[in-house]
């Protein structure tokens, strides 16, 4: 995956557009332009203002076209891994039916979702194929059809799936996938439901 990413970057440089030849603007100027333009949101400022800031991981990823050098990759993985919280009882598997609903729902945190009327969704189908019966799926992420079956429903794979959804950058720095747990988009219970969707034998993902 990483090799592909690197060769894509190399290709992008070879076919560099005129825009790329220009000098990069001062990051403070970029941040200022964001703050000066994004001011209207139907919730109190403390809800949306922090969204305008890019954290260290986002900055490192943006600065390198999502392919930072090895040392930065390692630093991101370590930092993001550190933000993962685990269920106290060591139980990672919730209810796949609820997981399917969360995977379908794109609700939450958009300007039209205030005041909130239900739980946030993960919108997994926006980027992934999951259950065979849902044909309206996106392709930014890999197909997850048969995810658990392919991994023989192994216990360590259950934990890997939990960590992936909780914080995608821990295993794949600069992933395009949101950090659902660390960014507090989804609750721990919702993530467990998604792990059930991915990893349980009776889930439609594995039929």
């Amino acid at each position: 995956m990483r090799i592909i990413a690197i060769s894509v970057v190399a290709l992008a440089l070879l076919t560099a557009s005129p825009a790329l030849a220009q000098q990069k603007p001062d990051p403070a100027k970029v941040d200022a332009a964001v703050k000066a333009s994004l001011k209207t949101f139907p919730a109190p400022p403390e809800v949306w203002q922090p969204r305008l800031d890019a954290d260290e991981t986002m900055r490192a990823c943006a600065a390198s076209d999502n392919s930072p050098p090895k040392a930065v990759v390692d630093a991101i993985a370590k930092r993001e891994r550190g933000s993962i919280e685990y269920p106290a009882d060591g139980q990672f598997i919730g209810d796949w039916k609820k997981g399917e609903a969360t995977a379908q729902s794109g609700y939450g945190l958009r300007s039209t979702d205030y005041p909130a009327t239900r739980a946030n969704g993960g919108n997994c189908y926006a980027c992934h194929q999951l259950s065979k019966t849902e044909v309206s799926y996106g392709t930014i992420g890999p197909s997850l059809l048969g995810y658990g079956k392919l991994r023989e429903f192994k216990a360590d794979e259950v934990k890997i799936a939990y960590e992936k959804v909780y914080n995608s950058h821990a295993a794949f720095p600069c992933s395009l996938m949101p950090r659902f747990g660390s960014n507090k988009v989804l609750t721990m219970d919702q993530i467990k439901d998604l792990v059930a969707l991915l990893m349980s034998k009776d889930s439609p993902v594995n039929q």
């Binding site: 894509v8 992008a12 076919t15 557009s17 005129p18 825009a19 790329l20 220009q22 000098q23 990069k24 603007p25 990051p27 100027k29 970029v30 332009a33 964001v34 000066a36 333009s37 994004l38 001011k39 209207t40 949101f41 949306w48 969204r51 305008l52 800031d53 890019a54 986002m58 900055r59 990823c61 943006a62 076209d65 999502n66 945190l109 958009r110 300007s111 039209t112 189908y125 926006a126 980027c127 309206s136 799926y137 996106g138 392709t139 930014i140 395009l176 949101p178 950090r179 960014n183 507090k184 988009v185």
Partner: protein
């Protein structure tokens, strides 16, 4: 521009579409409807409902309006006051009178404020139409102006220092990640042949990909049955990014449009286009 009997045909087209695109929120149905539409457009280019808005925009451009009761015919879009033909093809550009770079909508906003005396704050409060509502006046004027470059190629030079700065800022904004989903424009627009659910994503970091689509804006959007401008399109993407709505005419929106337009340089303009 006059339509003669055309509006009738357009009305039929909207009706044929409405049953599938409006009633149910089904991507497949919408795809089918747009295919039918594209076919119709090929047979009769005048059947694009967006042309009604271009027509409305022309009327707005030439009528005396606003507190100062003047038309926009003294508005300089870069080719001298009142020259609309081909002006859009060279936008965004630097305007000395405003001392900043402007895209078509930002420039029209400026003219509506400075020449006609409209209240800028009022114009940018709710600048974009809701689903099913017609494009607002500013957007209709932009549609008219863009249509007057239809058939031409994007040729903005971006050779002035402030123009170069705007493109570079736009590129930095295009890759900048922020918000609870960690999204940047590149999350969705930096690879070929990807889609969100069933909606195909334009490959905008690639000049060829940009040239294919940017020249179709403003566009009549079949799924929301109205003309959507580029500023509106960006606002919709910010909505998906869980970020606040970008202010129409802000440096951020102008920079992103400068970047996209520089990517699309040399591409054909066919505005108003037609979109899913």
């Amino acid at each position: 521009m006059t339509f003669g009997f055309r509006p009738l045909l357009v009305a039929c087209a909207i009706f044929a579409l409405g049953s599938s695109a409006l009633a149910q929120d089904s991507d497949a149905a919408t795809e089918k409807a747009i295919e039918k539409y594209r076919q119709m457009l090929k047979e009769d280019p005048w059947s694009n409902p967006g042309l009604l808005d271009a027509d409305r925009g022309e009327g707005l451009w030439t009528s005396a309006r606003g507190p100062k009761k003047v038309s926009l015919e003294q508005c300089d879009l870069g080719k001298g006051p009142g020259n609309v033909e081909g002006a859009f093809a060279e936008l965004p550009r630097y305007f000395a009178d405003a001392d900043r770079v402007m895209d078509v909508e930002t420039r029209i906003l400026w003219c509506m404020e400075k020449l006609q005396g409209f209240d800028r704050a009022e114009l940018i409060k709710r600048p974009h139409p809701g689903g099913g509502q017609p494009v607002k006046e500013l957007g209709a004027i932009a549609t008219y102006v863009a249509s007057k470059s239809s058939g031409m190629k994007y040729s903005a030079k971006f050779d002035q220092p402030k123009e170069k700065e705007s493109v570079a800022l736009g590129e930095a904004l295009f890759v900048r990640r922020s918000g609870p989903f960690d999204f940047a424009c590149t999350t969705c627009h930096a690879a070929p042949n990807t889609r969100i659910r069933l909606q195909g994503l334009a490959h905008l970091s690639n000049p060829e990909g940009a040239r294919k689509v940017i020249g179709e804006w403003p566009a009549y959007r079949v799924s929301s049955t109205h003309v959507m401008t580029m500023q509106h399109r960006l606002a919709d993407c910010f909505w998906q990014m869980r970020l606040p709505e970008p202010e129409l005419g802000s440096d951020l929106t102008v920079a992103l449009i400068s970047y996209l337009t520089s990517q699309a340089k040399g591409g054909d303009i066919s505005a108003p286009g037609l979109k899913r």
